[in-house]
Subunit: 317 residues, 2 copies
Amino acid sequence: MSLDLPDSATVVEMLPRDGFQRLDEFVPTDEKVEIVDRLSATGVDEIEITSFTHPRAVPTLRDADEVAARVERRDGVTYRALVPNRVGMERAIDADVDKVNALVTVSETYSRKNQNMTVEEILGEIEAICELAADHSVEVEAGMGTSFYCPYEGRVPRDRTLDVVDRVVEAGVDEVTLATTMGLANPVQVAETFGAVFERHPDLDAGLHLHDTNGMSLANTLAAMECGVSRFDASVCGLGGGVVLPGEMSGVGNTPTEDLVHMLAAMGVDANADLGRVTDVARDVRDRLELSTASHVLAGGTVEGVLDAVAAGEGND
Amino acid sequence: MSLDLPDSATVVEMLPRDGFQRLDEFVPTDEKVEIVDRLSATGVDEIEITSFTHPRAVPTLRDADEVAARVERRDGVTYRALVPNRVGMERAIDADVDKVNALVTVSETYSRKNQNMTVEEILGEIEAICELAADHSVEVEAGMGTSFYCPYEGRVPRDRTLDVVDRVVEAGVDEVTLATTMGLANPVQVAETFGAVFERHPDLDAGLHLHDTNGMSLANTLAAMECGVSRFDASVCGLGGGVVLPGEMSGVGNTPTEDLVHMLAAMGVDANADLGRVTDVARDVRDRLELSTASHVLAGGTVEGVLDAVAAGEGND
């Protein structure tokens, strides 16, 4: 049997926004710019470089305008930024990004707690964002937080998720990304949800934003690909995540880009991101930021890594 | 879209053999027996309780006969033991196990280094084991190490794996288990291999022995299930593994049973193993043996774990 997978996949790098936002410490702007520039040289298709949120809400990304102004714009790479509302959108337009991630959450409780707005209010902002985008040739992606689970409400009913998909499509977004914000989705839920999305919107550009709290994110990637999804958000070292868990899970958030790219490459699915270059950046980021990470690639969990370890007598067979 | 998965799955617990074998220290027999008895109360279908290998080859399992004699035989649970050759098989028969894992490796280099026999010699042993089994009503499973990757030879050609499947089926085994010994298999490779196996042997009871070096083991589980595979070997805490990697990967070996059972339960696939009870045993084993583990369930990566952490203010959303 061969799995029915897309021939190629688009990899979106979330570290500069989802990752840096999550850290307690402010990463100096020079360092952010340098890391984004290194990421854009890995072949990754798209990078979420920052968030145009109010500096008081996310102080670690208070340098959004400067980051956007200073990063190298490499041909073939899409530079995208998160915008929580129309004010953020205006800043994003001034900063000349290619695309914005217009964030909406499906869970009402999460929306109020995280964005201090109702889902209805956020959908109003997305309509305004889409109007501004049309005037300035900026693409809009709706990043749909808590599409599967909410940390307050538990499992999110699929119909709620589908309703929000309908609404953002109506508002005129170019693409939709369902986010496993809690990292708790499972492959059956992912397949059933994307199946229902494509039933209603057969031509929709729908992607999956990956978190890995339950360890099922690569299985979820596979399930999504079997539904025809070919665009995935990940973060080098896995840095990021909607909920940071205590203790041993502290290093687990997003799915490590290197682990995603590793699986795509192993399966023969074309991706522009180069595993070696992504791994080099991931290693550097881990060392600089002194991260604990759940990355399998960084830990040597590749064919080359294992053969090298065994040849060097480090592995104990 | 809904994934085409089996309605139910069989979970085989490998800790008492694959796990205890791997430890540097000898786990006292009393403790082994107690852990096996606790495992058999989790609902797990089958337990590999020990290995009838020469005590000099695997000193940590030198108490195989005593363990087999002392563990409680619970109705509905299959008690199986690894046997490397006909001498081990005779001990297994004396010990009255229900089933044996007749180990063979596909890679010639691995076979010589690990079992000090050629693949051909091992296949001869399996024929002898099957003859003894028939006389004593013991089931035989062929556990096929390095079915996908070898730590010395790299990727194992699929035809080699299929040849060995043919040979063990000819020898008369009741079931075959392909092992991702190196934890480097990917979902496409898994699907293509099982697809080819079932093409040649449509009614074969074929299972998958899971290791997780590359983090793809749950994706591999999904791919295998889509081919019709419904029997999986895992180990609580993930303890075990053909190659123990240095440094950060030291806690990664087999796929944690609790993570496997978690995914099955989340997907609505029936399994007799109870997630709560498996997790309790895993936590206890981790604490007693002071293991570092990559288990997502133990780290709180479940719906209940995350909701509890957030409610307690431990999670940072």
